[in-house]
Assembly symmetry: C2
Homo-oligomer: 328 residues x 2
C-alpha cells in the first residue's frame, strides 16, 4: 500500500485489533523516521513495517531515453519539459539505513516484498526479535521462503492489487488465483499462511480461513477509509464503473502491478516490453501524473486496486477491521 497510506491507517487497524502495516518502500529516511515515530509513540504495538527488497537494476541509459521519448507526445500536449533520465528511484530496497531508522523502535513484525533481503540484514531484523513475513505468488516461492526462515508466508493470489511479489520467476503464467494458490501453499509449508488477493468482506475472510489461511491481508477494501492517503482521482475511480476493470501493468514502475485500467495503461501497455527495469519506469511518468492529477484526472496515476473492490467503503478503518472479522 506504498503511496496510499501512512501511519494513520496502520494505527487505526492496530487499535481495532488487526495488525496494522506501514508501507515503507516509498518513504525517504526522514519520512520513515517521522512515520515510525508516530507508529510507536505510545509504546510497542502489534504493527508491521513493510519494505521492498528488490535488487536495484543496472541503469540502462539508452532504454530510459527511449522510454522518455515514447512519452514525448504527452509532455508536449501538457506543455511539460521531458524529465532528465538517471534520476533517483522513488522506491528503494531495504538497507542498513532503513534498519538504522526502525531498530530503535524494534517493530515486532517486518514484512518484505520481492523475496528477502540478504542474510546480514535478515540477522539484523531478527536481532530485535522481529517476526519476518514475505509474499509468495507460487508454491515454489513459498517453499523458498520457508527454507529461508520466514515466520509466516503471505500467499498473494493473482487478484491482489499493487505489485506482484514474485521473485523466483518473471513468468506471470506461473501465478494463480487465491482459490488455487492458498490451499496449495498451506499444504506445502509448515509455517502459518496469510491469504491475500480478492478478500473484500467478512465472507471472504471466512472463505480464506476455510481454505487453510491462519490470517488474511486486506488492502483494497481500506482504500476509501478516511485514514488512507488515497488521492482524490484514485478514490473517484474506486467508486465508479472503472473499478471493475483492473489489469497487471508495468508502465508505472517497471514491474507488474494490478491497478484500475486508465489511459496510461491503455496507451502504453498494460504490459510494455519497453518499460525500464523496476523501479526506474516511474520517473518518466511522474510529471505526467502530477500534471494530470492537478487537472483532476487519473489518466497517469497508478490506481492500484485488486480485482474485488466491492468491499471498499468510506468508513473508519477500525470499523472496517471489526466488520471483516465478524464471522470468525
Amino acid at each position: 500500500m506504498a503511496g496510499v497510506q501512512l501511519s494513520g491507517l496502520a494505527l487505526a487497524v492496530t487499535r481495532a485489533g488487526g495488525l496494522g502495516s506501514l508501507p515503507a518502500a516509498m518513504l525517504a529516511p526522514q519520512s520513515l523516521q517521522a512515520e515510525v515515530a508516530k507508529l510507536f509513540a505510545d509504546g510497542r504495538k502489534p504493527v508491521n513495517v513493510n519494505f521492498f527488497c528488490h535488487e536495484p537494476p543496472a541503469v540502462d541509459r539508452e532504454r530510459e531515453v527511449r522510454w522518455v521519448q515514447s512519452l514525448q507526445a504527452y509532455y508536449d500536449a501538457f506543455g511539460l519539459i521531458a524529465p532528465a533520465v538517471g534520476g533517483p528511484a522513488a522506491r528503494q530496497p531495504f538497507s542498513d539505513s532503513h534498519a538504522d531508522v526502525i531498530e530503535p523502535y524494534a517493530p515486532p513484525v517486518v514484512s518484505f516484498h520481492f523475496g528477502l533481503p540478504r542474510d546480514a540484514l535478515m540477522r539484523r531484523v531478527r536481532s530485535w526479535g522481529a517476526r519476518i513475513l514475505s509474499s509468495a505468488t507460487t508454491v515454489a516461492e513459498a517453499r523458498w521462503l520457508e527454507e529461508h526462515g520466514v515466520d509466516a508466508i503471505i500467499a498473494q493470489g493473482l487478484e491482489a492489487g499493487g505489485h506482484r511479489g514474485h521473485f523466483l520467476s518473471d513468468d506471470l503464467s506461473l501465478q494463480s488465483g487465491t482459490f488455487a494458490l492458498l490451499p496449495q501453499i498451506v499444504a506445502a509449508v509448515k509455517v502459518p499462511v496469510i491469504a491475500a488477493g480478492g478478500i473484500a468482506d467478512a465472507h471472504g475472510v471466512w472463505a480464506a480461513m476455510a481454505l487453510g489461511a491462519s490470517a488474511v491481508q486486506v488492502g483494497t477494501a481500506y482504500l476509501l477509509c478516511p485514514e488512507a492517503e488515497t488521492t482524490a482521482v484514485h478514490r473517484a475511480a474506486l467508486q465508479g464503473p472503472a473499478a471493475s476493470h483492473t489489469a497487471l501493468t508495468n508502465v508505472f514502475s517497471g514491474r507488474p502491478a494490478r491497478g484500475i485500467v486508465n489511459r496510461a495503461m491503455r496507451d502504453l501497455g498494460p504490459l510494455s516490453p519497453h518499460a525500464p527495469a523496476f523501479p526506474l519506469a516511474a520517473n518518466a511518468i511522474a510529471p505526467l501524473r502530477k500534471h494530470a492529477e492537478a487537472m483532476g484526472s487519473g489518466d497517469f496515476t497508478p490506481m492500484w486496486a485488486g480485482q474485488n473492490t466491492s468491499g471498499c467503503r468510506e468508513v473508519p478503518a477500525g470499523e472496517l477491521t471489526r466488520e471483516l472479522v465478524r464471522l470468525i
Copy 2:
C-alpha cells in the same frame, strides 16, 4: 470436460448425489445418441448435458493455410503429410440436430458455454422443462445471462481448466480469480450461482459456499478417476511436476483454454495471434497429437486442467463426490 469424459463419469457422479454432466461439444450426433441413451437407460436422472454455443466462424482459408505452414516443421519431423485445410470442425455449436437427439430423453438440466443459443433453440430446450445454465467470466456476463433467463449461473474463475466461457468481450484482463469473481456475481444477480475454478477438495467447496455459491462445479479433480476418459499422457502430466504450471492457450482450438504447459504451448503460444478462429485451429494440430500420443508423448495434446490439481485422485468418481461435500 469435452474429450476427457463420457456418460460413465457423469453417471458415477449422479449416483453419488451430484449433478453429473455429459459434455457434448465434441460428440457427433451418433455418439451423442449413444451416450445419452446410456445416461438415461434407467429413467430420468438429475443429470446435465453441456453444449458449446459459439458462432461458427467464417472460414479464412489464407489464415488456415498459414497456420498449417507454421506447423510444417513438425509434420516433416514426424514424417506426416500436412492436413488439408477446410476440414470439418471437431466442435459444433448446439443446434436443432442436437436437440433432436436429446429431446426424447428430456434431460432435466442443459448447460451452455460461450453464452446462450438463439431464442428458438432456448424455447425448444425449455419445452421439455429443462433448467438452463451457462457460464459467466465477468459480472457483466452474469447480468446478461440473468436477463436472458438462465436458471443459474456458473461463475467461472480464472483458475478453471479448459475453455474460458467468455462471450461479451475477448479481453482476458476483464476476467478474475474465483475469490474475486464469485462474490461479485452473487451480489449482482438473483439466480443461484455455481462456483467454478480452483475448487479441489472439501475445504474448497466449503469456501465457495462461504463466498455465496449455491453449488460448485468441479472438473479437474475428476480427471484421474477410473470413469474418466482422460488419456494416458494427460494422466501422467497431472501426476507429475508439469501439473503445477498451466496457462491459457489458443493453439489447440483458437480460443483461450487452460491446460498444462507443454511443447505445443511453449513453441506456438501459449496465446498465438496466428491461430485460426475457434474451433478451426484444432484441425492442424490433430495429426501431431495423434502421432505424439502414439509415442507416449503429450507434446501436442491439450491437457486441460485448472490451476489447482491438488485434488486429483485415482479414486472412483462416486467416492470423490462424497468426499467433496463432506464439510457442508
